[in-house]
Symmetry: C2
Subunit: 771 residues, 2 copies
């Protein structure tokens, strides 16, 4: 096949792609010299603190900032009166910057203070007097949907934020054809990003009333538009400079009020202001945690195991404000259907306002909640059929060339390879044949996009690549780096295409004034989408380089190639003294009559569709796939589940940098384990109790099982050097795989996250009681 | 004529060009928020001080830094041992970073200290013990050229740095044809730039051994190359970020050791280091002052006043190290010949090493020293001829289409208009007809380049113009802003070409990593050369905009135009609701299937020649011209010269921004007045006495005469919107015009700068004695 042979030819020549190149930003991060938002220094910088709602739902009868303003060292206090009074949000504009008449969740921003130091600012916050009228609150989906429930927003009757339904194929006929029908309802969890760095901003207005915000955002350009709207200023008057980002995971994608409040304070104080969330604020009202869903699934298969129909009903907890929740629920409702060859699916999905922290984008987006349910339903079906679930999944798995019911066109797909590798790595067949008491195996699969058309009919990227007279190349791109290694991968792509060493490529930070427009780090898009733009820019630059070299060396462009930073004659590496240094060619091209720099421009748009209202449309030009298998041991006395081994096999196309790709998969697995087993708070009156890292149990290195990683042999024809996205997918399957393994081990099925010892213990006791 | 009509058509349409647009950077500069190098903050920033030579010439027998290193708070001490031991320089690599075996002028860098604060660093410098062996020094051109003089550099016998000569046309025959031959020798002065901000740097090495220098340089890219060489590292490993620059005038064009020493300290300390010259250091060894020349001229004219020949002999004081002195002397030797129609010229020019502060580039480059001599020779010739000098200059003035003996091709020239305007504004004919005792009139002309091919066969610039989805445009250019208003003018050019308001255009700061290569602010090139690149980039962007709009509006590109930030139908301004906002078109073009940003690239190279060894070649694609006339009153009792009025008429092509152009001319006139009348130190043993602003007498606002400014009606066909350079020329003629006016007033001719009361008094007394 042409593609495969092209790939082989290319890969034998690759010198940067596929290599374990260490991240050049690592030394600065590990040794403390990287510049995070807390390191931004501006002359006269003030520090800020925020007064937040102590109630999940309350009316503000009056607000008095007199005492706060009078405190020595306080330079500005802002309230709703300082805002343009408009609500904002990515998909539904329902969130105020500072609450005016009422508050809707514990932690909501009410007022803020800027002072000479943060201690003074916090002291002043305590001096703000609020006359509260507590209102009855809806603290769960059930409370929100109950008759006569208090309304979170007056314009959302019944507390319904959003609803959509779809049916593709004849679902009823599918179930009629089915020999086995399973169903169940699963509850997923409000997981927090818990990035090491909390959200923070430094804002400063210049004397021409233009605002600069240094912030640790994942999406500088998209955030700019929202913040400008919230501030009531023109987008053109806001400049966002991305600082180093200490972890994003979706939680820093521009839905939070932090930078807006910071900007209001800076305007009022006439000085630069820094506002950095405390850990408690980050939990209460910072990054938007994963959206809990109640996910009902009915799945029908025939006696051979071929799937016939799937029906779901989703209720999703939006929290008090919307952010990206509509899209999260949409993805949870549709995306799993690109995993197996469903002939008919139905969905009915409802997003519900509650007086709880707003939920939002989190690594995996809707998939972890969907897979938690659907991948258990598949396990149940296998059980009912008396068939090995590995065989069942394999039989129904999509393949390259398939088109899903939602018109998702699958270009490259090695899902079966992933299932096989995961099963092999965990020792599936061997261990299922020779069972150990209280031990069990489980598997789950997932699919993810590589970018998604979400913001208008565009999911593209653009970049410039300069090949400089000093021999270095500079990638000008606005995509930025959020700690995931995007900068490293883009540099690899440019270096490979240019034929120069990795070390010789720089990439600009994301800055809305300097860099080209970019949607930023979301939807596992940067490698695939921005990588393609950078590839094209580098190709254009290389062409200019070769043309210049051809003139300088008096030879034909077609006779030349670039390798190891030198322009050489193809097949005659010794010619011209072993080739001419790229920097020499570039300098000569510049320093000549009519000279100029080498400057390539590249644009690329994801070959995808903007889904319609019913979410029909090929949302991404490429899909990545994954299978995760686990072995657990359940303590029959306590119900404690120990994950012994975990095998993750991922199809992300070409692995551009194994070290970084493994890091992404391992990190996602760790987050999946936390979601599955430990990450939860006790809540009281809409407030997590003790929102800190002592009480919110993130898995640590000591909690990690043996992890086996594998990447499928895969090549995505539309990807840069065959690559697809990889950043999110490996979080998705962990909870379902563990639940399936628990069932395999001790025969009980856990339907509510996290899978605690207590739940397993109770389920085992109930099961015994029923015997 | 085609050009003229094009111009008229364009000008009637111009909405940004030619307007008095205030500099957008002015508020920040006047209110203290602009970020100069002293404002750069880095974590753990150290502060530095330099041990400098107290002797003009001495051997370093030994150097002991033990005590300095032991001082509490000292983090690093560097000496020559920390340098790669190589000398550096723009045109001759003769300058060490830190002196090793010997020092060659007072102020030369010997060692440096970085400490927690500058007081500690300075204290530590005093603790460095040096065992000096004082050597005999050459402290003037005469001492340097004397038989048996001490050698400043062992490899420069006779202390000759550089020599060149030329003869074009038959000079002897010219003098033979001449009816009047005048001659004289003039001494020009070591003028200091005295920029409000001294030279300073912050240097920091990252963990990958790459160096970033924040510095107030005029030429980030050219400086980078030199500093990298001096440090012995690859140019690619040095990044220069231009801070705000508090005045350059040529003194911040990358010839000084400050950033290199700062970088050495930062490397040794492993921390960021700031090194900012004190005012005393700036005078002793900071910016390179104007090169004093002894300039002998012989000029021959026929009885009608037509020039027949000119011969010059130049001896120039290089100081201890070379920098750009070779080019300065070259310009002084050749450039004046592009002012009048000389049929034959000869030059013999010698650059001489002395044990004095190195001299270098200063506004006007070689011209103020040359014009000081040559324009007085013309005045003497007029005197001898009994002809009004205005008439004489006018008769010999070059015109558009002329080609000088050095092959300088004059495209646009309104020198005669300048002479007429200057004469008219000063009231020349009226006042010469009705003389007032002790009052006199003088006039002088000058020519300057608009860019010059100096660094290889390239004097180009490149730029990118992005037309952003927020409606703003961004100019990406590395040319930078040194306080002269370059950023404002480039923004005007882009705004005009794009058809959007000035306020909607941003320009990137100069940063060798982010911006396109640029030669920077030198040779009055930015408006003309970089302006042309920006114009072309903007034109490319506008074309992309129109193409996008044509698709969106379903009309032809040729039917559309951009005006006031809107795309409109030509001749139908009401169509499409008065047009579509540029930002809307750009956003729509981006947010579409296959979309992308609007991004224009522009390159332009000065249509000039790289002069040969004899300096033959058209050094610039355009020449600007100037005439300055002054009226003085000489106090017969004291010799004090009061300049009553000064008229400057400048041909800089189209005046892009009258406010800025006037500012350039007024500022240059002020520097010319300082050069002419007051700027001098008493020197002792190679050291200026009291190097401070109390003793170095800069003219202040109270010293200013009435100034009349005029710009010639002029249009340079190769310039952006018809513009040429304007930044330097008006300094050139002031000293000669005043000297000529003094002669007109009291009959004595001053041949040595500055024109002090004492010199005039002595000359008057001598003249009386001779009567």
């Amino acid at each position: 096949m042409t593609l495969a042979s092209t790939r082989v030819t290319r890969e034998t020549e690759l010198s940067v792609i596929g290599k374990r190149i260490p991240r050049p930003d690592a030394p600065a991060k590990t040794r403390g010299t990287a510049q995070y938002v807390a390191d931004i220094q501006r002359t006269g910088l003030l520090h800020a603190a925020v007064l937040r709602s102590p109630y999940p739902h309350a009316r503000i009868r009056s607000l008095d900032v007199t005492a706060a303003l009078a405190l020595h060292g306080v330079k500005a206090v802002v309230t709703a009166d300082d805002t343009p009074g408009r609500s904002w949000g990515a998909f539904r504009k329902d969130q105020p910057v500072l609450a005016s008449d009422k508050v809707r969740y514990v932690g909501e921003e009410v007022a803020a203070v800027a002072a000479v130091d943060v201690e003074t600012a916090r002291e002043a916050v305590l001096l703000i007097e609020v006359d509260w009228e507590e209102l009855s609150a809806v603290l769960s989906i059930d409370e929100a949907l109950a008759d006569g429930a208090a309304l979170v927003h007056d314009d959302a009757p019944g507390n319904i934020t959003y609803h959509f339904g779809l049916e593709r194929g004849d679902v009823d006929a599918g179930f009629a054809r089915s020999d086995v029908v399973v169903e169940g309802t699963w509850e997923s969890a409000r997981q927090f990003h818990a990035a090491i760095e909390t959200i923070g901003s430094v804002a400063e207005w210049d004397l021409n009333d233009r605002l600069t915000i240094w912030t640790n955002t994942q999406t500088p350009f998209l955030s700019r538009g929202r913040y400008a709207w919230a501030l009531g200023v023109a987008e053109r008057d806001v400049r966002i400079i991305q600082t180093e980002v200490g972890g994003g995971f979706g939680g820093k994608s521009g839905d939070d009020n932090n930078p807006v409040v910071c900007a209001l304070l800076a305007r009022k104080a006439g000085r630069a202001v820094q506002l950095i969330n405390t850990r408690e604020e980050e939990f209460l009202a910072g990054s938007r945690p994963r959206m809990p869903m109640r996910y009902w699934v009915r799945l029908g298969v025939d006696r051979d195991g071929h799937v016939q129909a799937k029906d779901i009903k989703v209720l999703a907890d939006n929290g008090a404000y919307t952010g990206k929740s509509i899209a999260v629920m949409g993805a949870a409702s549709v995306r799993p259907d690109t995993l197996y060859r469903y002939p008919a699916v139905r969905a009915d999905s409802t997003l519900v306002y509650t007086n709880l922290v707003p939920t939002g984008a989190f690594r995996g987006f809707g998939s972890p909640s969907a897979d938690w349910a659907v991948e258990q339903a598949w396990d149940m079906a296998a059980d009912e059929l008396g068939m090995d679930v590995v065989e069942l999944l394999r039989m129904n798995a999509v393949e390259s060339g398939d088109v899903s019911l939602h018109n998702h066109r699958i270009t490259s797909c090695e899902l079966k390879q992933c299932i096989d590798k995961a099963a092999e790595l965990i020792g599936w067949h061997h261990k299922r044949a020779q069972r150990t008491p209280n031990r069990g195996l489980g598997i789950a699969c997932s699919v993810h996009v590589s970018g998604r058309r979400s913001f208008g009919d565009y999911d593209g990227s653009s970049a410039m690549v300069r090949l400089n007279e000093d021999g270095r190349a500079t990638i000008i791109s606005g995509e930025g780096e959020i700690g995931q290694g995007a900068g490293t991968v883009l540099r690899q792509i440019a270096a490979e295409e240019l034929g120069i060493p990795f070390e010789d490529v720089d990439v600009t930070p994301s800055d809305t004034q300097l860099a080209t427009h970019a949607l930023g780090a979301l939807a596992s898009r940067v490698t695939y989408v921005a990588g393609n733009a950078v590839l094209r820019a580098a190709r254009a630059a290389r062409q200019q380089l070769l043309e210049a070299a051809a003139v300088q060396l008096e030879t034909a462009v077609s006779d030349l190639e670039v390798r190891d930073g030198r322009v050489m004659v193809r097949g005659a590496p010794g010619a011209f003294g072993g080739g001419v240094l790229v920097g020499e060619v570039a300098r000569k091209r510049l320093y000549q009559r009519g000279g100029g720099p080498i400057l390539g421009v590249g644009e690329w748009d994801n070959p995808s569709d903007f889904p319609d209202e019913s979410r029909y449309g090929n949302e991404s030009g490429a899909y990545n796939f994954m299978a995760e298998a686990v072995e657990v041991e359940v303590d029959p006395e306590t119900g404690n589940v120990q994950v012994l081994e975990l095998a993750a096999a991922v199809d992300c196309g070409t692995v551009l940098n194994p070290t970084l790709a493994e890091g992404q998969v391992e990190g996602a697995v760790a987050q999946g384990l936390g979601l599955a087993q430990s990450e939860t708070f006790a809540w009281s009156d809409g407030r997590p109790q003790n929102p800190n890292f002592g009480d919110y149990k993130l898995p640590t290195v000591g909690d990690m099982p043996i992890i086996h990683l594998a990447f499928a042999e895969s090549y995505e024809p539309s990807g840069p050097f065959g690559a697809k996205g990889v950043g999110e997918i490996a979080v998705d399957g962990v909870p379902a795989a563990i639940a399936n393994a628990v069932h395999d081990a001790v025969g009980v099925r856990i339907t509510e996250l996290p899978i605690t010892a207590e739940k397993v213990y109770r389920a085992m006791r109930e099961r015994e009681a029923q015997r």
